[in-house]
Amino acid sequence: MASTVVNGILIGSLYALVALGLQQAFAVMRLVNLAYGEFVVVGAYGAWLVSRGLHVDPLLALAIVCPVIGILGYVLQRGLLGPLLSRGLEPPLVATFGLSLILVSLMTQAFSGDSRALDASYATSGVAIAGVQVRVTYLVTFGIAVAIFAAAHVVMTRTRTGAALRAIAGDPDTARTMGVNVEHLYGWTLGLIAAVGAVAGTMIGLSFSFDPSTGASFLLKGFTVMVLGGVESIAGVLVAGIIVGVVGGVGGEVFGGAYQDMVVLIFLLVLLALRPTGLRGREAT
């Protein structure tokens, strides 16, 4: 059981990383991004291309992949999603659904439907922590996830940019009249969360394997974590990711692997019945 809990905590940080991008898109822009799973997979393919092309470790490849994907995210927001956001929730929702299908098709055309994995010496290594054997990639994922969540928290609570983001999340029209460049900040938000998605994709590629259709299952996990954590709490998402990882693992061990996802979803439903706003509700970030 100790092994299940420890591994659940570590894998949960990966779910949280995926959920962070979904949550920030919704918290700042009220954007339900159905293409986020594909953002994650595009990041994995980016790391695969760069690491093979330059013969570097996939984690080092992120130094190139993250800025490139961040810029693409910015352009996507300014060019497509931004104009749609002013028309309500549905148009961007439909647009991201279409974008998801287009990205899957493009990736299939470019890379075929074959599964791929990222190579690294540590991708199949394990270490013992307090007598529990865990994968090195899970530990690295946990470390990166904690660092990104801490950075996101600091940016949102301690910087002028964070204050501006909170302002446009609350009332973009008022923020605009006060001189905040809302569209520019929206662009940066999508760019940053696309970059976070690339990090998550790289960790998925190192730990498991990926193909153009991999995004869907992680999108589902991400939404579960986001709803559980509360749609406006960064810390809540990290905690929720870990809870989903642990509950899923323990549920699988107690009831059998076939019921792993069901246990998580029942847990989510019970928790939402008790706390409709999730773990942290609408408290300040």
């Binding site: 591994n7 074959d114 599964s115 394990g126 054997q133 498991f208 259709s213 692997g257």
Partner: protein, 404 residues
């Protein structure tokens, strides 16, 4: 009101007319091309199968057309192959089969790989009364899926008990140094459950004891607790029936946790070259199922192998041979029927008896034809036949080098 009543049949007629215009073939007409419909997985997790299967279907059709087509009722008619991609999704597979049967007017349906996808195609074939020639559906799974028996669907593949008998015998008797404890990893898809049940049933008679069983949905990312328990059980023999991505995750987890089984038997996700490419040396020694090998010496084997070799060193060539042979079975049946009438073609398929590149195919009354089991093992980036024993078979590597 009367005008509305008149408009209804007009609209229906127009709709039917438009639908007919949209059809790509004209199997039913006297001298138009014969349409064959194939649903394959060109994208999604099972896409590695799709490309090779399409190649097999297409090659057989091209060869038939190169000879001027096939003789049907005294007329030579060309053959058209309509291929649709099911994206490895069962619902889409069923939708595609319906489109091929109703819109393309396919005379025979051909299927994708793996029961979760082939069975929806079979169900459409039964409902629409269009013959379907399937493979990649182990026979127990095929029979379990229809309690009343199949009428229009025909399956050519290996019988799971034969396969399991060969694999577990190799694990238990050819390698007596293993402790004969078996750990099973099966997904919750139909073939996963069938294999898991049969492993439990057949293991004791072959001197193996099931020490641990993990069953989980395809796509489960965290397999750590399952591997930890299998390792704890001390099982030297691992049997798995998982998709390729899940198989890769399981190998990585076993390696990271320091679990060193001596024999690893993998169904489904270990068959193709992509499995070996993803895992590299870790895959070395994995025992994988087979149903064809050039060593079996069936007609056209060498030509088909050299034509399909570029797809990879795993089951790729077998897939091409399989699908190529199924189209041959179908075209010969249409010729014998002398018509594209579904019932006549169906009756002609039942009479199939001959040796094809895939091997001897003769359908039993339960609509299945049994293929010979060929057991292979991944050795240095390609699969080598280790069973049945013959002059060109390789020695089985033991203990499995990849996870040692």
């Amino acid at each position: 009101m009367a005008r509305r009543l008149v408009l209804v049949p007009v609209a229906v007629s127009l709709a039917v007319g438009i639908a007919a215009c949209g059809s790509t073939g004209s199997s039913g007409s006297g001298d138009g091309p014969i349409v064959l419909g194939a649903d394959v997985s060109l994208t999604g997790p099972l896409s590695p199968f799709g490309a090779t299967m399409r190649a097999g279907y297409e090659r057989a059709v091209q060869e038939a057309n190169a000879q001027g087509g096939i003789m049907v009722g005294g007329k030579r008619r060309k053959v058209v192959l309509d291929v649709l991609d099911d994206r490895s999704d069962p619902t889409t597979a069923g939708d595609n089969a319906r489109t091929l049967a109703l819109k393309s007017n396919a005379t025979i349906l051909f299927g994708p790989a793996s029961p979760p996808l082939t069975l929806p195609v079979a169900q459409v074939a039964e409902r629409e009364k269009v013959p379907a020639l399937l493979s990649f559906t182990p026979l127990v799974s095929f029979h379990n899926a229809s309690k009343s028996g199949w009428k229009y669907t025909w399956d050519t593949f290996v019988n799971e008990p034969d396969l399991i008998n060969a694999e577990l015998s190799a694990a238990a008797t050819q390698n007596p140094k293993s402790n004969r404890k078996l750990a099973i990893f099966a997904d919750t898809e139909q073939d996963g459950q069938v294999f898991s049940r049969l492993w439990h049933e057949q293991a004791p008679a072959l001197g193996l004891r099931v020490a641990y069983t993990a069953s989980f949905p395809a796509g489960t990312s965290d397999l750590s607790s399952f591997v930890a328990k299998a390792k704890q059980s001390g099982a030297d023999v691992v049997a798995m029936v998982l998709t390729e991505p899940d198989t890769v995750s399981l190998y990585k987890e076993m390696k990271a946790q320091g679990y060193h089984p001596k024999v690893v038997i993998g169904e489904k996700g270990t068959a193709l070259a992509s499995f070996q490419r993803l895992l590299g040396p870790l895959a070395n020694g994995t025992v994988t199922m087979g149903f064809w090998a050039p060593e079996l010496g069936y007609p056209q084997g060498a030509q088909l192998e050299s034509a399909a070799r570029h797809f990879g060193g795993g089951q790729e060539v077998s897939n091409v041979v399989d699908c190529y042979s199924l189209v041959q079975v179908g075209l010969k049946a249409i010729e014998r029927a002398g018509s594209t009438d579904p019932d006549k073609v169906n009756a002609a398929i039942a009479q199939t008896s001959g040796v094809f590149p895939l091997g001897p195919i003769r359908f039993r009354k339960d609509h299945s034809a049994v293929l010979k089991v060929v057991m292979k093992q991944w050795q240095d980036a390609e699969t080598r036949q280790v069973y049945p024993k013959g002059p060109r078979t390789s020695q089985m590597a033991f203990p499995m080098p990849g996870l040692s």
